[in-house]
């Protein structure tokens, strides 16, 4: 028996060891590049700020306390509201799209492909493209002027509206895909059963389709809400300096402001919010999907 065979035989004889062997490479990666940096950040967020960036030895809560300054709470509130808004708009726009794709017959694969297509281009490039669309001399203004629908240039870029358009655009596929997945595996005979039991199309949707697609809806909301909460690129490029989100704040602290402890503290506060969102998700999922998942 060669050494390799012996090692494999040893592994097969111990299911526990097998699991660890499968976990090891990915686990190593996550520990080194996720857990370690996050622990460093956690430590930094409790240390006094150094004069030239970095940290000085010691323990302080000042960075967390500082975050509760109205200035930053304002940013937090805006971030939260925009993320919620973005999630709701994505849901309202995305559900019908997912529903249409599922019923799309032979167009289904093409439509799915179109939803995923934007991912072929970098998000940064696509956001720049939106600047070209929305700026004062951009396509939208030009067309509206030419069609005579407006007399003077509309200010679209660098407004909350532009940020919201960008956020929704960026995250819409993450809403559509999970809803599509849950609608797609919905057993058609359940819809027929509802119909033959007397449910008209609207009642059928409300009592069968919607509840059974809830896991997809919740997953979609989470996939939109969490990254929206942490996004900074969209608000930076489409919102200008006036529309700061938490992501921009954190990014500034780590780059230009060189205040790593405060940036870390802000990050952990966002993380706490995300954690809260996940807890709500799990609770809702237990209530709606509990019966079907068993």
């Amino acid at each position: 028996m060669s050494g390799r065979e012996r090692a494999l035989a040893w592994l097969y004889s111990r299911p526990g060891a097998q699991a660890w062997a499968l976990l090891a490479p990915g686990g190593f990666w996550l520990v080194l590049f996720f857990l370690v940096p996050i622990l460093i950040m956690l430590v930094y967020s409790f240390m006094p700020r150094g004069i030239y960036g970095g940290v000085d030895p010691g323990f302080t809560l000042e960075h967390y306390a500082r975050f509760f300054d109205p200035l930053y709470l304002d940013v937090l509130q805006r971030t939260f509201l925009w993320s919620v808004g973005c999630t709701i708009i994505c849901l309202v726009l995305g559900y019908p799209v997912a529903y249409a794709i599922v019923r799309g017959g032979r167009w289904r694969n093409l439509l799915l492909f179109l939803v995923v297509l934007p991912f072929w281009t970098s998000f940064l490039v696509r956001t720049f493209a939106m600047i070209f669309l929305m700026r004062d001399t951009g396509l939208i203004n030009n067309w509206l002027l030419k069609l005579g629908l407006i007399d003077e240039t509309l200010t679209i870029l660098y407004t909350p509206f532009a940020v919201m358009v960008g956020l929704v655009y960026g995250f819409l596929p993450f809403m559509i895909l999970p809803i599509y997945a849950s609608l797609e595996k919905l057993d058609p005979s359940l819809l027929e059963a509802a119909e033959v039991l007397g449910a008209r199309p609207r009642a059928r949707f409300r009592r069968v389709t919607l509840p059974l697609s809830m896991p997809g809806v919740v997953a979609g909301c989470l996939l939109v809400f969490i990254p929206a909460l942490g996004s900074f690129l969209t608000s930076d490029l489409l919102g200008g300096a006036k529309q700061m989100m938490i992501g921009n704040l954190v990014q500034n602290q780590f780059s230009s402001a060189r205040n790593w402890p405060f940036g870390s503290a802000a990050s952990f506060i966002v993380m706490a919010l995300v954690l809260a969102a996940v807890m709500i998700y799990l609770r809702v999922k237990d209530q709606t999907g509990g019966g079907s998942s068993k």
Binding site: S189, E192, A193, A194, A199, R207, S292
Partner: protein
Amino acid sequence: MVQLSKVSKSFGELKAVDQVSFDIVRGEFFSILGPSGCGKTTTLRLLAGFEQPDEDGGEVRLLGQTVNKKRPYERQVAMVFQNYALFPHLTVARNVSFGLEQRKTPKQEIGDRVRRALEMVRLKPDVFLNRMPGQLSGGQRQRVALARALVLEPAILLLDEPLGAIDLKLRKEMQLELKALNKQLGTTFVYVTHDQEEALTMSDRIAVMDNARVAQLGTPAEIYENPRTAFVAKFIGESNFFEGRVVESSNGQCRVQRTGQGSFQVPGHPSISHGGSVRIAVRPEWMDVFRPDAVPPGENALIGTIRDIIYLGETMHVIVTVPEAGDVTVALRNEGQLIKPLQWKKGDTAAVAWLPEDCQILEED
């Protein structure tokens, strides 16, 4: 009660149901029997309203009303689905009450009726009301699905192979229960199945479907004992087939010269004419095996060699290879092989014999 007149349904080029007509009376247990792809499920879906007949595809009438264009929720039918189609997110109670809620039944009445429906299908309401479908066994789901349909007290209940997925013993039990419910409630049952035994056991009448058409319609005894075509004879039970040409006919008896050697007598039949060709089927249990020189007078007999003897418990199958007729199966009652063993063994020359009146004369498919 339920009438189809010359109903046709096509999916693109494919004719799924072709000029199907039948008339089901109130309280009848009516089965649609056929192999997969014969159009039986499409026929049921036409009754439920999930499919609509072609533009010039005849007429579907329920309770005296033409319903060709009516949606399922506008028809007074209930249905039990093949895979039960219970709502996985609702409790047993909510599943059963679903139809009542859609029909705006008063709240207090719903509770009572749900309990009664569960009792009818022999599920204890106190045990099952709050269970989720995922926590039930296949047989229990089947019963819930049945309760969900019966709670509406429908005039017509459509059943799409409802017993296909449960094990044999339970299936036999449910067959008898369904039949009893049909008689007890007076509900008209339209039952789709591919299981011939099931259809024979339960039905008042059976429509055997083949290739989008009704091949034969009749009582179980008519279908089994007098199959109209080779397809019906083959699909329901086992049959041995013989062909030949009529060479002599007198007094309601015809003599048929078999393709190959030998001849046999068949009773007269409107489809038989002198000189014409005839195809007959004979059930294995209506045949017997004799020594070639000991065939009782008046019986048809063909000589062959015993190829195999198969022990089946209740019966013994003796398979006799007859030249140019292939294998002929004869089913003999097993009178106890330990006490009174069969006198035949493989390789024996033997005559398979049957009475002329046991010939089933077949029409073209």
